[in-house]
Subunit: 160 residues, 2 copies
Amino acid sequence: MRFDYRPIGVIDTPWDGPENMPIQPAGAAGVEGTVRLFEEYREGLQDIEGFSHIILLYHFHRSRSFELRVIPYLDTRPHGVFATRAPRRPNPIGLSVVRLLRVEGGTLYIRDVDMLDGTPLLDIKPFVPEFDVPRDVRAGWLEELQHAARGRRSDDRFAG
Amino acid sequence: MRFDYRPIGVIDTPWDGPENMPIQPAGAAGVEGTVRLFEEYREGLQDIEGFSHIILLYHFHRSRSFELRVIPYLDTRPHGVFATRAPRRPNPIGLSVVRLLRVEGGTLYIRDVDMLDGTPLLDIKPFVPEFDVPRDVRAGWLEELQHAARGRRSDDRFAG
């Protein structure tokens, strides 16, 4: 079984290489970018401007392979890839929650962008607290480290 | 450009058809299911049991087509598909945040499952509040309606 997905748009950001970029939206606070939705999908944006935040699903287009155990940016020990947000995954799909500033035609102006310039967009979903924010969360090995993402930058470990 | 993704496992749930099922994890509170990760990916689960919640990305395998404007379960008016969580999307990728109860070998026992039985799994990511919970959220047309998802069931409008 295979799934044949196609890009529905492109994400433009200031980050042009996998080195020295924010490692999560929390580390990209204030950084702006745009989502350019392809013409044929624009009708699907109706009413999206009412949402302050959207979930972007995108293809990690620089990921050429994957590893099942990785040493992520925030730690010095290896973890299973499914316990990390590392880009080199069996299906290299990225997920970021970003702030939606405004919509002009097929262009969405967004803030807190942590993906590479030219990233192919797969889907946009509205961020809805009732659906997306569970209660009593425990964040495993990231419980203490998650806040260190703020201001941290990547290195080249996941390049290629 | 096309992306060729493959299932990494299967999600087993009590929901065997697109009718009369919960429309979001919030409406599936307490309902348990399992994720069976295929053997070759199991090493990637290391340390995942420390997380109370995981994000599942999966393929809406019953979605055969898409519409850019849809009338979602929670409303009587049409909205752009990207302003909804409806399954019939240009790239039919689903996203659910579920509670992780325990891990046994390659099987993850999960709670609050709102996807169909036999759903092909694309990715597992750890849910990390610092990355996934923004501040000052406004949920557009769903702002007042989102809480009505609790206990609501689907009908057949997105079947096929």
